[in-house]
Structures are given as structure tokens and as C-alpha cells.
């Protein structure tokens, strides 16, 4: 299971933080800081696996990371995930971002963090890998983007649902 997916830059500024387990806001920030601390110490030519820090969970957890230009992509996983497989997944994620944003760079992530979340949501769900086929992911993200600013009942011929009646 993937416990968290973090993207931060070379200075530790978070660009995306997705936790698949509940932590308090303070703990989340601490985890981000600690992860940055661990990962930024690493040399360029060492392996991409690190034992996790204290906060995110002890001996069963690993940090699997990749460093692209000014950004660190870190997946915090437990032993049920294949380390090499996750490395490949990070690659797919970044390539997908690259396709969606056309030569993605840090600024894209900064200004469109919600879009990055949407892309990620088509890849990982509940801490588990959902889809790994890049074209499939992009297709689904595009279709949903096309639906922006539309009213859903416009798409459905038939009964108009009552607006605002779903809860008090």
C-alpha cells in the first residue's frame, strides 16, 4: 500500500501532498519536512530507496523517490509494494504529467496543483495502484476536463434532479 505521495522542490516547498492514511495537519507537515530532510541529503548516485523516517511509520515503510530537475517525487510505501515497480510507476506519473502539461516544469505544478491531483486520482486510489497505462490515464483526464463548467443534467436526457436537496 502507498501511504503517501509527496512532491516538493529542492528547498522543501511542497508542490503536492497526498496522504492515503489519516494524519493530523501538523503531522502531515512534519512528515513533509522530515521526508525532505532525508531525501535531500542523498547523493546523486545512490539507490532510490530509503528507510522511512520515524513519523511515517517504522520498519515496514520505505521511501522510494526520484529526483527530476528541481523536484523530488516521493512515494512512501509499505512492504506490499514492489520497490522496482513503484520506481516504474513514478516514471509513468511523470511522463503523464509531461504529456498533459506539455514539457511539464515546476511552475505547472505550482499553478495547477488541482489538475495534478486529478491526474494522480486516475493512477492511485486509496493507496493502491489503479491504472498504469499512460494513454488510458490521459484519455480519462481529458474527458473529465472537457466536462468542466458544464451542468451535469445537461448531459442526461430525462429527470432533472433537485438542486441542493441532498443535505440540509
Amino acid at each position: 500500500m502507498i501511504r503517501a505521495i509527496l512532491i516538493f522542490n529542492n528547498h522543501g516547498k511542497p508542490r503536492l501532498s497526498k496522504f492515503y492514511e489519516h494524519y493530523t495537519e501538523d503531522t502531515e507537515q512534519q512528515i513533509i519536512r522530515e521526508t525532505f530532510h532525508l531525501v535531500s541529503k542523498r547523493d546523486e548516485n545512490v539507490c532510490n530507496f530509503l528507510e522511512g523516517g520515524m513519523l511515517i511509520g517504522g520498519s515496514d515503510y520505505k521511501l522510494i523517490y526520484r529526483h527530476y530537475a528541481t523536484l523530488y517525487f516521493v512515494f512512501c510505501v509499505d512492504s506490499s509494494e514492489s520497490e522496482l515497480g513503484i520506481l516504474d510507476l513514478i516514471q509513468v506519473f511523470v511522463e503523464t504529467l509531461d504529456k498533459c502539461f506539455e514539457n511539464v516544469c515546476e511552475l505547472d505544478l505550482i499553478f495547477h496543483v488541482d489538475k495534478v491531483h486529478n491526474i494522480l486520482a486516475e493512477m492511485v486510489m486509496g493507496g493502491m495502484v489503479l491504472e498504469t497505462n499512460m494513454n488510458e490515464i490521459i484519455m480519462q483526464v481529458d474527458a473529465q476536463n472537457k466536462m468542466e463548467n458544464t451542468f451535469l443534467w445537461e448531459l442526461f436526457i430525462g429527470i432533472k434532479p433537485e438542486i441542493g436537496s441532498n443535505f440540509k
Binding site: 511542497p14 489519516h22 545512490v46 532510490n48 516504474d88 498504469t132 451535469l152 448531459l155 441532498n166
Partner: protein, 759 residues
């Protein structure tokens, strides 16, 4: 302002304080906008809130707004609403439950992407109640023909099962034809679902074993199908799915012969045919190896797997080396010999610059140490210990020691060695074990007490060290003052100086009560060894009563436990102690003599790790001396056969220590160590031995024919016994020597050879 305008603004902040101010301002604006119940800007505001939340600012006042967005009929609103819910909400808020109805409706929505959002949110953060309420909807969607929804439903089901395990049964029917799907996304998540079910329930596991043939077929198709652009990643067809299937196969094949057999062929095929030039190929290969090692595969396949790992170790890619070491660590117990073949590569990894790799290589090296490779391994591990980072030292030293003692429970006379740098990692409970070590190293007593005394002169703050030093001085103080040390220049020290030092410990603020107990006991013991008895009596009466008596008693008892004798030392004012039957009355001074060493070794073996700490302590004292370290360790650890006392009469004690002669295992190499505890030398000492007819014996020249008095040295001699029939070793020994002018001769049978010496 729009989200991007806000972001731009925030980025202009030059300090944390400036940023905080901007954010607070924006939050206030957002709050008032929320209060106005303005639908138009709600989406944008929540998006901004999420951004600020990511930076670490509180955003909980937006939770309710997320719900309103979820209920909206605009897709954009729903999207942000659900995202916000996932980021800001959790089970512990009541607000969370209000989502249930929304999600239920959206699960049944006509638009698949809305259904997808609902499934996603439920699958990420649904509480047990929500899962219970909505499980039925999820189950329905698991059976849909819409592959987009089906794959999401599968993962959502996993979440539901995790939250409410009792509901697992409910999803069973829906799993029936999950594997017949063509869509890889569905296949993938279906395998995840099946894996989860199998891991949770042994019944499910047995039930799903029948899927093995189908899984094997799917895997085969992936490998053999040729180029499929849709699923291709670096020339391999859907490597992620392959890895998933391999993992499920592992779980199904574990401890089941039939399943294991059914997957044997495909595993061999994947193992030999997978292209390894890219990481994806290696990921598959790695998963295959793990599966092979975990199921009941035939030995040929296992060897193939380990060889793949061996190849991984030579790969330039550090990640590959890392996973190889991790896997080898898991298999080294069960497939020890196969892993041994890669020992030299593993040892090379100790020199890797990467900390993660070094650590794994270290752990693996420990596991690989055995009687045959001990010399080489020890050398490498000592270099490693010497040069490794501080974060490693404790574990490394500990591991080095554990590996050796657990494999080879044998103590021998101490020589020089060093764990210098790891010295500060010693634990307090190592003291009794270290004392035991010192006790057994008979010829080193004079040297040890001298070194420890000198250490005390330098530094009395390290409590374990001080305690051991006190004990030694109490025990061997006479050797100290008489300058018996042979290994280095004996120091000139008087009884008074020694007592000064011990008394100094009693008064020092640095000494703990336990330490004071040790030093007081030492002073008391010296009353039988030193001549300045009056001084001692005075000290004892002053301090004995003011120091916590219970602590004193405990400290003493702890010391006594080491010697396996239950003796209560006389405390000032206390009752007279009962005499201890096992203390030989002819030798009042040495309480620890006359004990058979054998049972103690078992204790020490059990102590294992603590003994390491004892060695660490000694590292304070002994100098690094290249050749000696290795000699010591070779002696110390080379066989695993415990030493024994062969003869012990009239003050003459003869210990046997053992070595296996390489390469001939039928030859036992026995070294005799003769020591003399009487006050006069034993001269013209001759040791002779005879063995039964089926053995052959060779006696080499002795080190000397004078056994010095008072245990000040030993005579050693090597015996080689050829025992081709592996019969129980027996020996008859004849001893002749001159003592105090008279000639002595004795014949004795030695029958208590440890089984390992002749088996």
C-alpha cells in the same frame, strides 16, 4: 481573485511572515464569501483553500463548503468538492457522515465520471459506517461492464473490506469472472482485490487456488503475445500487471504443492526470458524470484532464482543491487548454500558508497559467516567496522559479535583485539558477562587488571568500565601490586595506591550506587590478598554502613551469580554467611576457581549480545594490533567447540581447547593449557596421552616444562587426534612434574569430550 492570481501573489512574499499575512488576509476574504453562501465563487475559494492547506495553513473552515460543492450539479464543483473532502475531511469529523447520501446518489449517477469520483472518494476515506451503508452499491458496480467503473469498484471494494472485514463474503460472487476481463486496468485491480481477499482469509485462499491455471494463462499471454503497442512499456507487455499476477501467484502457491507445481513452468519461463536491459524487466524478474523463493518450488528453480539475484548484485544499477541484497537476506536461512556462492560479491558491497546497500550487505554478511569462511569474513567485517559511519557501528559490532557467538560458542584466552570505536555503545548489563570473559582468560588476568587499573587512573566516569575494573582489582589485586604482567611493562603500584583508587570511587559523585557496591566489595576482597588489612577494615566500616545495604548486597550477589556459586559476603554488622559447599576450602582466595567452564558457556551463548558489549568495553583497553586481532578471532571463533577442563587436581588444571583441522575433518586439534594455582612452580612438567586403538595421536612439543605458580602462565601443547571412524573420543593422560622438591605422577581418564570434537 482566481487561484492562480492568489498563487502568484503568495509567491511574491519574501518572508514566512509576509506569506502568513497574505494568507490570513485571503482566508478572511474567503470566510466572508462562504458566509454569503455565494455559489459562484465557492469552487474557486475551496480550490484556494486547498492550496493554502498544502502549504501548511489551517483550512478546516472549508469542510462544510466541500460538501456543498459535492452536492452541486456542476462537474467542476463536484470535482473540487470531492478533492477537498479527501484532503480536509476524515472519519473523526461528523461532517464526514453527511457525505454518505451524496456519494450514494453519485454512485448511481448517469455520468461515469461522477460515479468515478464517488468511488474514488469512498475508496480513499470512507469510514466503516459509510462502507457498510454503501457496500451494496460498490458490489453492483463491480459487476458492471463499464471497465472504467469496474476497475475503480474493485479498489473501492478493497477499502471496504479493510474497513469492514465481515463484508468480504459479499464480494465473492462478483469476483467470479473478474479475470476474464480483457481490459488490463480491470485485470490489474481485480488481482489486487483477489490478493487482498486471499491475504485476509485462509478460506478465500483455498477457494481462489483454482484460479491458478487462469492466472498462469494470462501471464503466458502477456509474455508470448508479442508486441502490443497498447500495453507496451519498454518492450514488455504491461509489466505492472505481470508483477501483480506474480505476487498473487506467490500467495496462492505458498505452502501448497499442487499450486506450486502448476506455476513452476511459467516461473521458469519468465525467469529465463525476461529482457533485463530496462528497469521494468528487472522489476518482473525480481518479483519472479521472490515468488520462486516463497512457494514450494523445485530446487533447480530455486537455484536459478538465487543465481538471478547473484547477477543482480553485479548490476551497475544501485537499485537492482539493493533489491537483490534485500531478497538474499530473506532467503539466506532457507537456501544458505546457494547464497554462499555469492559471498564474495556480497562482501564487495560492504565497500559501496550507498548507505542503504552497505547496511544490507552487512546484515547479509553476518548471516553468511560459518566455520569455513570465518577468517576471510572476519577480516572484511573488521575493516568495515573500523571505517563505517557512527550510525552503523553499534549494529555492526553487535552483529559481528552475535554472528560469531551464536555460531561458535567458544571462549579462549584473550589476546589483543579492538572494538575501540564502538566502545561508547556498551550497555550497563554487560558487566557480569565481561567479568565472566575475564575470569575464563586465566593467563590474561595480570595484564587485564593492569590495563583496567590504568584506565581507572584516566577516567572514572564510564560506569560499566569502572565496575569491571573494580571487580578485577578486587579479584587480582595481588597480581597488580606484584607486577606480574608479562604482556607489557608492569607498573609499579603499592597496595595503598590501589586502595586509594578504590576509595576514590566510593566518594566520587560520578559513581552510581551500583559502582560503589562493586568498589566496596573489591576492597573487602582485597582483605584476603593484601596485607594492609587494618586500612581495609576501617574503610569497610566507614562506608559499608553508609552505603545502601541492599544495593551492596545486590551488587555482590550479581557478581557471585557469574561464578554460579551462591555466596553471601559478610556485610559489616550482618549475619555470618552460610558456607558455600562448592568453594574449594584449600583455596580461600580465589572464589571463582574450580568451576567447570562448560555450563557457563551456554549462559554466555544465551547472553550473546551482551557479551559483545563486554568486548566493546575491553576495547577501551586493548590496542589495535593488526595481526593479533585476526589471530585472536581465529582462535576465538574458529571451531564452535566449547573448551573443557580435562584434569583438575592438587592445584594443577588442564584445559583442552579445540580446533578443526582444515581440510581434513577427521582430525581434531586439541591444545592443552596447563595452569598451576599453588604457590610453587611445577617444574619438569610432562604431559602424555594415550588413545584407544581406532584413533591415532600425535603430540607436538610443549611450550615449556615449567608451569608457573599462582596461575601466572600456562604451558600449552598441541595434540592432533585422527578419528576416521568418528568414534567417541576418550583419552588417558599421564602427568609428571616436580613440585616443592617432590616428584608427582598421576594418571587420569578424560571422558568428557564435547560431542562436536569427535562427531
Amino acid at each position: 481573485p482566481l487561484l492562480r492570481e492568489l498563487i502568484r501573489t503568495i509567491r511574491t512574499a519574501r518572508t514566512q511572515a509576509e506569506e502568513r499575512e497574505m494568507i490570513q488576509k485571503e482566508c478572511a476574504a474567503i470566510r466572508s464569501s462562504f458566509r454569503e453562501e455565494d455559489n459562484t465563487y465557492r469552487c474557486r475559494n475551496v480550490a484556494k483553500l486547498l492550496y493554502m492547506h498544502m502549504l501548511g495553513y489551517p483550512a478546516h473552515f472549508g469542510q462544510l463548503e466541500c460538501l456543498k460543492l459535492i452536492a452541486s450539479q456542476k462537474f467542476t464543483d463536484k470535482r473540487i468538492g470531492y478533492l477537498g473532502a479527501m484532503l480536509l475531511l476524515d472519519e473523526r469529523q461528523d461532517v464526514h457522515l453527511l457525505m454518505t447520501n451524496c456519494i450514494k446518489n453519485d454512485l448511481n449517477h448517469s455520468t461515469q465520471y461522477v460515479q468515478g469520483l464517488a468511488l474514488c472518494t469512498l475508496g480513499c476515506m470512507g469510514s466503516s459506517e459509510m462502507c457498510r451503508d454503501l457496500a451494496g452499491e460498490v458490489e453492483k458496480l463491480l459487476k458492471t461492464s463499464n471497465s472504467y467503473l469496474r476497475k475503480k469498484a474493485a479498489l473501492c471494494a478493497v477499502h471496504v473490506i479493510r474497513k469492514v472485514p465481515e463484508l468480504m463474503e459479499m464480494f465473492l460472487p462478483a469476483t467470479k469472472n473478474l479475470l476474464s476481463e480483457k481490459n488490463h486496468g480491470v485485470l490489474h485491480t481485480s488481482v489486487v482485490l483477489l490478493t487482498e481477499m486471499c491475504e485476509r482469509s485462509p478460506d478465500m485462499l483455498s477457494h481462489f487456488r483454482k484460479l491458478v491455471p487462469q492466472l498462469v494463462r494470462i501471464l503466458k499471454n502477456l509474455i508470448m503475445s508479442g508486441y502490443s503497442p497498447e500495453h507496451d512499456v519498454s518492450g514488455i507487455s504491461d509489466p505492472f500487471l505481470q508483477v501483480r499476477i506474480l505476487r498473487l501467484l506467490r500467495i496462492l502457491g505458498r505452502s501448497d504443492d499442487d499450486s506450486s507445481e502448476a506455476m513452476n513452468d511459467i516461473l521458469a519461463q519468465v525467469a529465463t526470458n525476461t529482457e533485463t536491459s530496462k528497469n521494468v524487466g528487472n522489476a518482473i524478474l525480481y518479483e519472479t524470484v521472490l515468488t520462486i523463493m516463497d512457494i514450494k518450488s523445485e530446487s533447480g528453480l530455486r537455484v536459478l532464482a538465487i543465481n538471478i539475484l547473484g547477477r543482480f548484485l553485479l548490476n551497475n544499477d544501485k537499485n537492482i543491487r539493493y533489491v537483490a541484497l534485500t531478497s538474499l537476506l530473506k532467503t539466506v536461512q532457507t537456501d544458505h548454500n546457494a547464497v554462499q556462492r555469492h559471498r564474495s560479491t556480497i562482501v564487495d558491497c560492504l565497500k559501496d558508497l550507498d548507505v542503504s546497500i552497505k547496511r544490507r550487505a552487512m546484515e547479509l554478511s553476518f548471516a553468511l559467516v560459518n566455520g569455513n569462511n570465518i577468517r576471510g569474513m572476519m577480516k572484511e567485517l573488521l575493516y568495515f567496522l573500523d571505517s563505517c559511519d557512527p550510525e552503523f557501528k553499534a549494529d555492526c559490532a553487535s552483529g559481528v559479535f552475535l554472528a560469531f557467538t551464536l555460531k561458535t560458542i567458544w571462549l579462549c584466552p584473550l589476546c589483543h583485539f579492538s572494538f575501540l570505536q564502538a566502545g561508547s555503545y556498551v550497555r550497563d548489563d554487560s558487566v557480569p558477562n565481561l567479568i565472566q570473559l575475564i575470569t575464563n582468560s586465566v593467563e590474561m588476568h595480570a595484564y587485564t587488571v593492569q590495563r583496567l587499573y590504568k584506565a581507572l587512573l584516566d577516567d572514572i566516569s564510564q560506569q560499566p568500565l569502572v565496575q569491571v575494573a573494580s571487580w578485577c582489582i578486587g579479584e587480582y589485586g595481588d597480581l597488580l601490586v606484584s607486577g606480574q604482567c608479562e604482556e607489557e611493562e608492569p607498573i609499579q603500584v603499592t597496595e595503598d595506591e590501589v586502595l586509594d583508587v578504590l576509595e576514590g570511587l566510593l566518594v566520587s559523585n560520578l559513581s552510581t550506587p551500583v559502582t560503589r557496591g562493586y568498589s566496596l566489595t573489591a576492597i573487602m576482597k582485597l582483605s584476603t590478598r593484601f596485607s594492609s588489612v587494618n586500612r581495609i577494615k576501617k574503610v569497610v566500616s566507614i562506608y559499608g554502613s553508609s552505603i545502601d545495604v541492599e544495593l551492596q548486597q545486590r551488587a555482590v550477589e550479581r557478581i557471585m551469580k557469574i561464578s554460579l556459586i551462591d555466596v553471601a559476603l559478610p556485610l559489616p554488622g550482618g549475619p555470618a554467611p552460610a558456607p558455600a559447599p562448592s568453594v574449594p576450602t584449600s583455596q580461600p582466595t580465589f572464589l571463582l576457581d574450580g568451576i567447570s567452564s562448560q555450563p557457563l558457556f551456554n549462559d554466555i551463548a544465551a547472553a550473546g549480545e551482551n557479551l559483545f558489549d563486554s568486548l566493546c568495553l575491553l576495547s577501551f583497553l586493548f590496542q589495535v594490533n593488526g595481526a593479533n586481532i585476526f589471530e585472536w578471532f581465529i582462535l576465538f571463533y574458529s571451531t564452535g567447540i566449547p573448551p573443557m577442563t580435562a584434569y583438575n587436581k592438587n592445584g594443577l588444571k588442564i584445559d583442552f581447547t579445540f580446533e578443526r583441522a582444515n581440510p581434513n575433518p577427521n582430525i581434531a586439534v586439541i591444545t592443552i593449557h596447563a595452569s598451576n594455582s599453588t604457590e610453587a612452580d611445577m617444574t619438569d612438567f610432562v604431559f602424555q596421552a594415550a588413545v584407544p586403538k581406532t584413533f591415532q595421536l600425535q603430540l607436538l612439543s610443549p611450550s615449556s616444562n615449567v608451569v608457573p605458580a599462582l596461575n601466572q602462565g600456562t604451558v600449552t601443547q598441541v595434540i592432533r587426534v585422527l578419528n576416521p571412524q568418528k568414534q567417541q573420543l576418550r583419552m588417558r593422560v599421564k602427568l609428571t612434574y616436580t613440585h616443592k622438591g617432590s616428584a608427582f605422577q598421576d594418571l587420569s581418564e578424560v571422558n568428557n569430550f564435547p560431542p562436536q570434537s569427535w562427531q
